[in-house]
Symmetry: C2
Subunit: 336 residues, 2 copies
DNA sequence: CTGAAAGCGCTTACAG
DNA sequence: CTGAAAGCGCTTACAG
C-alpha cells in the first residue's frame, strides 16, 4: 500500500541500502546517486516510516517536556511562563532539527507520586530522546529520570544534588531580586515589602536573597508577605495586609502576583508609581498590557526555552552535560 | 537489552501471542492468565515498544495540532486562546486515552504555501492518527488534509466546502456579537463602534453579523474600525480614531483588542464603564486581571478544546464525522 | 487458550 | 558503491 524503500530502490535502479543511507543523511555518495534516489522518492511520493526507523535506531525523534501544574488542570492557561518557554522550544525543534515535542504534565497535587510514576512510564513507552523539565520535583523522581540514561535539561531547578545525565539552565534570580529592590530604593521608597506565593521554593529563595542583599546595603528592614497558590489571587489578597502595615512599595517575585496586587491597589485608588512602588519579575506580556505598565525584571523566557532546547539537542547528539546561567535586566516602566 | 514480549512470555510460562493480546486489551482471557502476564511484566519491568506496535497497526497514538501563527514565531505567547484550547485537549488525551499531542505550526506569512507543504509532509511522516486544526487555511491545504484519510477536526473554521473526513467545532459567534452589542445598547450607549483586527476572517464576520443585527433592531448606525495584526496593538491604535469620532462604546471582536483599547482609554483618563462602554469576546483570563475588569462574551475555550479532542478520538475509533456548535454567554463585569 | 510463523519498513554490518 | 541477509519488537492470522 504505502511506498517503501524497496519501491524507491527499484524505481531508481539502486540498492535499498543506498536509498536508506541517502535518507539517513550519509554523505559518502556522489551527487548523481543522491539525486537519482531523491528523484525516485519524489516521483513515488516516498516518505520514510519513522516507526520502522525508530525500531532499529532506538531513537524516537521525540523530546519530552515535563510541566508541573500547581493549579487545577489549566497549566498553560495559568502560567504564561510555560507558553513562552514552549514557543522558544518549538522555534528550535521546528527550524533546526525537526524533532517533535510531547508534553508530560503532572496534573494534581493529590496523587502526586503516582502521577510521577505514570509520567516516568510514559517517557519510557514513548522512548523520548531527551527531557526538558520545568521547575522543582522531588528527589525520588529526579533519581528516576537520571537512571533513564537520556539527557535531561532542568529549567529553573536549583537542586544541588549531583545526577548523571542532567544539565541545568537558570536565570540569575538573585541578581534579579537585587536589581528589583534596588530600583525601589532608588525611587525613594522606604518600607519595601517582598511578596511571594511559593516562597518555599528554591527559585523564589534566590529572588528573596537578592531582595535581602539590597535591603541590607541600604540598611532597611525586611517585610515579607508570603502564601497562596494562584499567584494573581495571592497578589490581590496581599494588598490589604500591605496597606495595613503601611508598606510603600513591593517587590513581587513574579509578574502575575504583581498584577493581582496592582488590581487591588487600583481599586483602592492608590496612585501606583507615585505613592506606591511596584516591581515584578519575569517580564511576561501582561505587564505592558495593563495600565499603568509594570516595572519588572526581564529574564528573556523565550531565549531560555530556545537555549534549553538547543543545548538539549546538542547533548542528545553527543555533547557534554552543562550548566547555564542567563542574565537578567531591569525593565523600567510606570509602576516604579 | 530491553525486556520484550518474549521475555514476559517465558517468565509467565505463556505464549507470546497471549502476552501481546493481554497488553493489547483483548478481553477473552481468564483473570488468572491476565494476572500472570501482568505479574511477569511487572517483575521484569516490561513496557511495550510503541514503535514496533505502530509498525504493525499503522496507528501512532499521536494527534497533530495545527496552529497558525500570525505574529512572528510567538504563537503561544501571543494568543492565550491557543493555550486554553491546548489545556482542554491535554486534559482529554491524558486522562481518557493516553494519546500524545504534537504541534505543527505555520511560522510565517512569507513562505506560507511552502510551510504548509512541510506540515503536510510531517503529518505523514509522524503518521498521526488524527488532526486538530485551529483557524482558517487555504482551500488547497484543506483539500490536502482531506486526502490523507485521517479524521480532521476543524476548530473555528467556517469553510463552507464539503471535505471528506472533516468535522467542525464552532462557537455561536453570531449570537455572541449580538449579545455583546445588545449589552451596550441596554446600558444606554448610542454610538457603538465595532473594533476588529482581522475583520476579513469568516469568524470575525460572524461576530460582526451579530453586531449588525443588534444595531438594526435598535435602529442605530454602524461604526466599523478594522485593521492591524497584533490585536493588543491594534486596540491601542484604534483608541484615537474612536475618540475622534466621538464613539461612546465599542464591541471588540476579541479580548486582547479590548485590552489594548482599554490601555489607551485609561491613559486618556476616560472613565471606562461610565462614559465609555466596552465589551470584548473570548473571556480569557486577562479580562478579569486588569482593572476595571472587562465585560465580555464567554465561549468556554477550555471546553471547546476538550470537546474537540474527545470528539476527534471517538472518530479515530470509528464514530462518524460531525459538526458542533457551542453556546456563548455574556459575562457582565465592569466595563459595560 | 497455544505456538510456530509471517511480516510491518526500516537500518546495519558484511563480503564483494 | 552493491546486494543479500539479519533483525529491531511487535501483532496477526492460522491450525490446533
Amino acid at each position: 500500500m504505502s511506498v517503501t524503500v524497496k519501491d524507491v530502490a527499484k524505481e531508481a535502479g539502486i540498492s535499498r541500502t543506498t536509498v536508506s543511507n541517502v535518507f539517513g543523511g550519509k554523505t559518502k555518495y556522489s551527487d548523481e546517486t543522491r539525486e537519482a534516489v531523491l528523484a525516485a522518492a519524489k516521483k513515488l511520493g516516498y516518505k520514510p516510516n519513522l516507526a520502522a526507523r525508530s525500531l532499529i535506531t532506538n531513537k524516537s525523534g521525540l523530546v519530552g517536556l515535563i510541566l508541573p501544574s500547581y493549579v487545577d488542570t489549566n497549566t498553560l492557561t495559568n502560567s504564561p511562563f510555560y507558553n513562552i518557554i514552549m514557543d522558544g522550544v518549538y522555534s528550535v525543534l521546528r527550524d533546526e532539527a525537526y524533532y517533535d515535542l510531547i508534553i508530560f504534565s503532572v496534573p494534581s497535587k493529590e496523587n502526586y507520586k503516582e502521577k510521577l510514576l505514570q509520567v516516568s512510564d510514559w517517557i519510557d513507552v514513548r522512548n523520548v530522546d531527551g527531557i526538558l523539565a520545568i521547575g522543582e520535583y522531588d528527589q525520588a523522581f529526579l533519581r528516576d529520570l537520571s537512571s533513564k540514561n537520556i539527557p535531561v535539561m532542568l529549567i529553573d531547578n536549583y537542586s544541588s544534588e549531583n545526577y548523571s545525565n542532567f544539565s541545568y539552565i537558570n536565570s540569575d534570580d538573585e541578581a534579579g531580586g537585587y536589581l528589583a529592590t534596588q530600583q525601589l530604593i532608588k525611587q525613594g521608597y522606604k518600607k519595601i515589602g517582598l511578596c511571594s506565593a511559593a516562597l518555599h521554593s528554591l527559585l523564589m529563595q534566590k529572588r528573596y536573597a537578592g531582595y535581602k542583599r539590597a535591603l541590607a546595603e541600604a540598611g532597611y528592614l525586611e517585610h515579607v508577605f508570603a502564601g497562596g497558590i494562584d499567584a494573581f489571587e495571592a497578589g490581590k489578597q496581599m494588598g490589604e495586609a500591605l496597606m495595613r502595615e503601611k508598606v510603600d512599595a513591593a517587590f513581587c517575585t513574579e509578574d502575575m502576583l504583581a498584577v493581582g496586587l496592582l488590581h487591588y491597589l487600583l481599586k483602592q485608588r492608590v496612585r501606583v508609581g507615585q505613592e506606591f512602588g511596584l516591581v515584578g519579575f519575569d517580564n511576561i506580556s501582561i505587564g505592558r498590557q495593563i495600565y499603568p505598565e509594570l516595572t519588572t525584571i526581564d529574564q528573556n523566557i523565550f531565549k531560555k526555552g530556545e537555549t534549553a532546547a538547543k543545548t538539549l539537542l546538542s547533548i542528545v547528539n553527543g555533547a557534554k552535560d552543562t550548566r547555564l546561567l542567563l542574565p537578567v535586566a531591569l525593565i523600567s516602566r510606570e509602576t516604579a
